[in-house]
């Protein structure tokens, strides 16, 4: 069976410890035609990316995905197909800010755009996140109009690999060129 892959379909990794907010962000993202993987902690997010929590050694991310996390995306060498990470700020253990720092410190994943969400409007918090590499900061509850702001950040990254063909799960070559 031929699998048609939308050339503009992006994969977003959503991180939030609240079950309700995870359901909401997942629906918002899918409504906007994003593929979504939703996890409930920064640790699980790093696991999914293949980054060990203790170090960001490049070799670590060649390990296979954790099976407890569901995702439609085909893994292709270093490219786990995550095009954007959207994370809650306030989470037990690793905060969204901690996660942001780890991503930006990683040689493999530092170019993945990271967006932070928070229910609290604290300017110093917002500025710190933006200064340390977050693309956007959304106040919760997140709306469709916020999610619509994501695509430009993703298009920026995608244009780099537009000449390279994508592979579907069945191995068929699908061109991503315009």
């Amino acid at each position: 069976m031929e699998m048609a892959v939308d050339k503009t379909q992006f994969h977003v990794l959503a991180v939030d410890d609240s079950l309700i907010d995870r359901k909401l962000i997942e629906r918002l993202l899918k409504t906007s035609s994003f593929q979504v993987t939703a996890v409930d902690s920064g640790i699980k997010a790093l696991e999914f990316l293949g980054l060990n929590d203790d170090d960001d050694d490049e070799d670590e991310q060649r390990d296979s995905n954790s099976e407890s996390i569901s995702s439609d995306e085909d893994q292709d060498h270093q490219d786990l197909g995550v095009n954007l990470i959207i994370t809650d700020y306030c989470m037990p253990g690793m905060t969204g800010y901690d996660l942001l720092k780890k991503i930006k410190k990683s040689s493999c994943f530092k170019d993945i755009p990271v967006v932070i969400m928070s229910s609290e409007n604290i300017p110093s918090r917002i500025n710190r996140c933006l200064e340390d590499g977050a693309e956007e900061f959304f106040l919760k509850p997140v709306r469709l109009s916020d999610v619509n702001k994501l695509r430009p950040h993703l298009m920026k990254g995608r244009s780099k690999d537009i000449d390279f063909p994508d592979r579907t799960r069945s191995g068929c070559l699908i061109s991503t060129g315009n």
Partner: protein, 150 residues
């Protein structure tokens, strides 16, 4: 057609929820995410909210039984509750959560207890009204007006 009176009733119930301040614009945002592929999205989210709320309310109740009050813990629980209430558009419940948190910050135990009683009342009222609303919604069938236009 027999559906129409049910839909009218549903619209009246819905309007009342907004007019009485139980729900805010966020609830409309949820309705707009509902479509043919996800026809029960709003009710699913609200059902998760009930479950989540029951858990948090129990935690707060237990925390209020321990003296002296751990205001940081109480505040943390209420932060969660406020967040989920906000996500479904539970306006009055969210407002009362804010009051509770202010009492936590000013270390006012009496205030916390009073506010918590009020919060439980508001939550119970909201839940009762929403359950009635969804019961009618199920009987009325799909409401095109509440769905996102294609």
């Amino acid at each position: 057609m027999e559906r129409n009176p049910m839909r009218r009733q549903l619209q009246t119930m819905r309007k009342s929820l907004f007019d009485q301040g139980h729900l805010d614009e966020q609830f409309v945002q949820l309705e707009e995410l509902q479509d043919d592929a996800n026809p029960n999205f709003v009710e699913e989210v609200v059902t998760l909210y009930y479950r989540d709320s029951a858990r948090i309310i129990l935690n707060i109740e237990q925390a209020l039984e321990r003296k002296p009050f751990d205001f940081n813990k109480l505040d943390a629980y209420m932060h969660q509750f406020k967040g989920s209430s906000s996500s479904i558009g539970a306006k009055k419940v969210k407002a009362e959560s804010t009051v509770f948190r202010e009492y936590c910050r000013s270390r006012n135990g009496e205030g916390c207890m009073r506010s918590f009683q009020q919060l439980k009342k508001e939550y119970a009222t909201l839940r009762r009204k929403l359950e009635a609303y969804f019961q009618v919604a199920r009987q009325a069938g799909p409401m095109e007006t509440a769905c996102r236009p294609k």
